[in-house]
Each structure stands twice: as C-alpha cells, then as structure tokens.
C-alpha cells in the first residue's frame, strides 16, 4: 500500500535499509542514496526537455495553423530523437581566436544553471530533491549563473555580434533580476519562510489570489530571464545574426537550446510552486503521488501561456524593454512590497479581535490582500493612462525634398 501511495520515499527507505544491512556506515549509505536521487532528478530534467521540445514545436505549429512534426511516431512524438542523433554527430567548428576554455565552459554553464533549480522544487510533499531552509535564496543565487553562461559565450567567441548579444544580456537578464527578487519577497513575506516546500504548505489560498500583481511581475521578469521572444534581444536574429550562439556548432550549440527549453519549463514549475500552490490539491497530502499530478497539471498550464506569449508577441526594442523594467516593474514591485507588508501586519494585529472562525481566517486575509491589489492595479492603470505616449517622436531633421526653387522676384514682374 505504501508503495502505491508514495513510491519514491518507499524505494529510498528500502535502499537505505538495504545498504545499512550490507554493513556500510550510515554516512556512506546516505551519500549513495542521495547520489542516486540526484542522478534520477537530473535524468528526469533532461528527459523532460525531450518532451517539451516536441510539445513546443507542436503547439507552435497548431497556433500557426500548421501540422508540425507528425512523421516519427504517433503525432511525431519521437521527432526529438532523430534530431538529437543528428546534432550529436555534427562537427565542432571552433572559430580562430576564440578563448578555448571559456568557449567550451559556456554551454555547460547555461544548462547546469537551469538544472540546478530543480534541486529545491517540490513535486509532492515527500518527493523533493532537498528541502533547503533557504530555498528561495538558493533559487536567486542559481538563477544568476544562467546569465553568466550567456556572457561567457558572447565574450569568448571572438565575434562582435556575439559580444553585443552578451552585453545586451548584461542589460536585460541582469536588470530583470531586480523585479523578480522583489516579487519573490512577497511569497516569502506571506508564507514567512524561505523553504520552498514550507511556502507550498503555507498556501491555504494560492498566493496568486493573494497577490496577483506579484505573480504577474514574477512571471514577466522570469520570461525576460529566459531570453525568449518577446524578450529575445540577446539572440535577435534580424539584428545580431544569432547573438551569443553564432559561433557555436554541433552539440555545444544544442546545449544552449536544451538550456533555453529547460528554462522555459523551469519558470513554469517555479510559477506553479510559488504562486499556484505547487502540489496542493484534493487528497494530495494523503496520497503524495497525486501531488505530482497536480503539480504537473499546473506547471504545464503555465507552460502553455509561456509558449503562447512567445508565439504571439513581437520583439521589443532594447530601450523599451529597459524602460519597462526600471520605470514600471521595479517601482510597482517596491510599492506593492510596502503595501503588502503594512496590510499583512495590520491584519495580524486586528485579526484576533474580530473573533473569526478558524477556517475563515485565510479567506478573509486573501480577500483583504486581493482588494488592496485590485486598488493598486486601478491606480496604476490611471497613472499609465495619463502618461500615455500620444505621438511618436521623429528623431532628426525632416529629409530634404527636391522642390522647384522660388523664381527671383524680377522674373515674375
């Protein structure tokens, strides 16, 4: 019975006991079990990419009224495998003058930074890589390594356009980290913990209902961090050839793509965990395996929106994108943080005197936060309306147009 309800921890316990009975010391057997767990988690992340690549291509195709991959396997579901084999046998072409060590390290960095995030994401109450008590801080720290991979790739390629892409990633990926961290502070504040699993436990009402603005800011800034359309300025193919990955070939090039697709799913998983209640759902706490199902339903729902935004939005210009970050998202997040803190504290002070029922307290709290959020949205929309750009400014002088010169006055008379 236990095996059906919670297979992962059942197997882990069984393996642990087996190793202990073989006479290994507890430390060694702990290391072995953890190693196997880490290996399985990594494999799972990688196999998920194979699936999401197919899913994304298929969704793209359907949105654009095409068929998409439909030859290899049912609905073309095995299409990724031939592609993988093909890219696996391609030659590496290293440009002359490239910084060899950094050039080879960059694709590894960009994949592993994303994969590292999966260590703290809880799939179910018991199925979690490790429940760090500083999980959110870890997410922040690991999230910044991805930008490093892009910068290294652009810098080492000995290519001016790659370098320009890398600089843009400094301006973009790094800038969008500020509203992302500010938005992350709000679940931490509401859940009063930095452990990701305890944040999931704290979501009696999903945090997206408590603070829709924070969820939106987090989603948008995560989307910008992935560097995909509409925020794909780092590899804008009509401006920078292919940005930081121009000089890469073979599997090194493929790894950037793996990193990108994995990142797109990772932000959906993070969004599902931090704002949509993670594994929470009916009977999830009694039957952990159901939690996995709830988690992936939510994650794929968010992923669908990520793909939808990618396919339907045009690319932004770099000044527009930075303005959007520094002059809209960051001030909004700061204001939201102050107001959420004050509202939460006042609720804490007032709540005991209201004599509410035990079950009603989370709902009253959620209603309070939601209404404050809606007021902030209304005010923001009003401010945006008054500052709307009414006409496009034309830069530079008007062009000279060939016109017939005025005839001298003497001629007319």
């Amino acid at each position: 019975m236990n095996f059906i309800i919670d297979p992962i921890s059942f197997i882990a316990n069984w393996l642990m006991n087996l190793l202990l009975s073989l006479g290994l010391s507890p430390i060694v057997s702990n290391v072995i079990v953890k190693f196997i767990g880490a290996f399985l988690l990594g494999t799972f992340g990688f196999s998920l990419v194979i699936f999401t690549i197919w899913l994304e291509r298929k969704l793209y195709a359907r949105i654009q009224d095409r068929f998409g991959p439909n030859r290899v396997g049912p609905w073309g579901i095995f299409q990724t495998f031939p592609d993988m084999i093909k890219i696996f046998t391609k030659e590496y072409i290293t440009p002359v003058g490239a910084d060899k060590i950094v050039y080879n390290l960059a694709p590894i960095f960009s994949v592993s930074a994303v994969l590292l995030t999966w260590a703290v994401i809880p799939f179910a109450p018991t199925i979690v890589g490790t429940d760090l008590n500083v999980g959110v801080l870890y997410l922040m720290a690991v999230g910044s390594i991805g930008a490093l991979g892009i910068i290294l790739a652009g810098w080492s390629s000995n290519n001016k356009y790659s370098l320009l892409g890398a600089f843009r990633s400094v301006a973009q990926v790094v800038s969008y980290e500020v509203p992302m961290i500010l938005a992350l502070l709000i679940p931490v504040l509401l859940g009063q913990s930095m452990g990701v699993n305890s944040l999931v436990y704290a979501q009696d009402v999903w945090f997206i209902f408590l603070s829709p603005i924070a969820a939106l800011i987090f989603f948008l800034s995560c989307l910008a961090e992935t560097g995909r359309a509409p925020f794909d300025l780092l590899e804008a193919e009509s401006e920078l050839v292919a940005g930081y990955q121009t000089e890469y070939s073979g599997l090194k090039f493929g790894m950037f793509y793996v990193g990108e697709f994995l990142h797109a799913f990772t932000i959906s998983a993070l969004m599902a965990t931090l704002f949509l209640g993670g594994w929470r759902g009916p009977w999830a706490e009694q039957v952990p395996i159901l939690g996995v199902a709830w988690f992936f339903i939510k994650a794929f729902l968010v992923y669908f929106f990520v793909v939808l935004i990618r396919i339907s939005m045009p690319r932004l210009r770099i000044d527009q994108m930075l303005n959007f970050n520094w002059k809209f998202l960051t001030p909004l997040a700061l204001v939201l943080l102050i107001i959420t803190a004050i509202v939460e504290k006042s609720f804490m002070v007032i709540a005991p005197s209201l004599n509410l029922m035990e079950t009603a307290i989370p709902w009253v709290r959620a209603g309070l936060h939601l209404s404050v959020n809606l007021i902030i949205i209304l005010i923001t929309v009003q401010i945006l309306k008054t500052h709307r750009v009414k006409e496009v400014q034309i830069v530079g002088k008007p062009r000279l147009v060939a016109v017939a010169p005025e005839p001298p006055a003497s001629v007319i008379s």
Binding site: G97, N159, Y161, F167, V170, Q192, S193, N323, A341
Partner: protein
C-alpha cells in the same frame, strides 16, 4: 541540515556532468576535418574588420552597477520577510523605511539619467 547541502553538492557534480559528458562524447564521434577557411569567424556573413574586444558603450556597465546596488540591498530584506510574524510595529516600520530608501535611490537614478538608453 548537512545532508541537505550534501545533496546540493552531489547535484552540482551531476549537473555539471550531464551537459559535459555528451559534449565530450560527441567530440569523440563527430568528424574532425578542420581547415583554416572553415574555422574563420562567421560574424555577420562578411569578412571581419578589426579587433573584437574593443571599447564598448558604458551604458551597459551602468545598468550592471545599478543592478548590483539593488541586488545587494534586496538580500537584506529576506530575513526581515521571514521573521515578519514576530516583528513589532517598530520592526515593520524600519523595513518599510529601508524599502523607501531603495525607492528614493531608484528615483535618484532616474533623475540622474542613469536609466535612459539614449
């Protein structure tokens, strides 16, 4: 507690091997037919002109610096947010004033023209 970080350490190793080993293997089985022409920089489809690592626009650097200021200060807010339940009104107000200082910083940077891309 320690075993949590043990997992992170092991995962770090595995995560480095997962992209690293396939790249190495692909390097072994893929063809090696390098030639001077092939290994030239592609760049934009035209012949490369001049050095690559040249002076670049300072604006990128300024944005990175602004980010650094914010990032370092935001990390201080996490302990405040975690201990929010036990905070007194004084604790709440000191946090709010800290965020307001951040806000003033942002406005100062805005007024100074740091956030302009022109």
């Amino acid at each position: 507690m320690q075993s949590d970080w043990l997992f992170i350490g092991l995962f770090l190793l595995i995560v480095a091997l997962f992209p690293g080993v396939p790249i190495l293997l692909a390097g072994l089985i893929s063809p090696h037919k390098s030639s001077p022409t092939k290994s030239q920089t592609y760049e934009c489809g035209l012949e490369t002109v001049g050095d690559t690592w040249v002076q670049f626009r300072v604006q990128y650097y300024i944005f990175a610096l602004t980010f650094l200021v914010f990032d370092v200060e935001l990390v201080f807010l996490f302990p405040w947010a975690v201990a929010f339940g036990q905070l007194t009104i004084f604790g709440l107000m000191s946090g709010v004033i800290f965020i307001l200082i951040l806000f003033v910083e942002l406005i100062a940077a805005w007024r100074k023209g740091v956030l302009e891309w022109a």
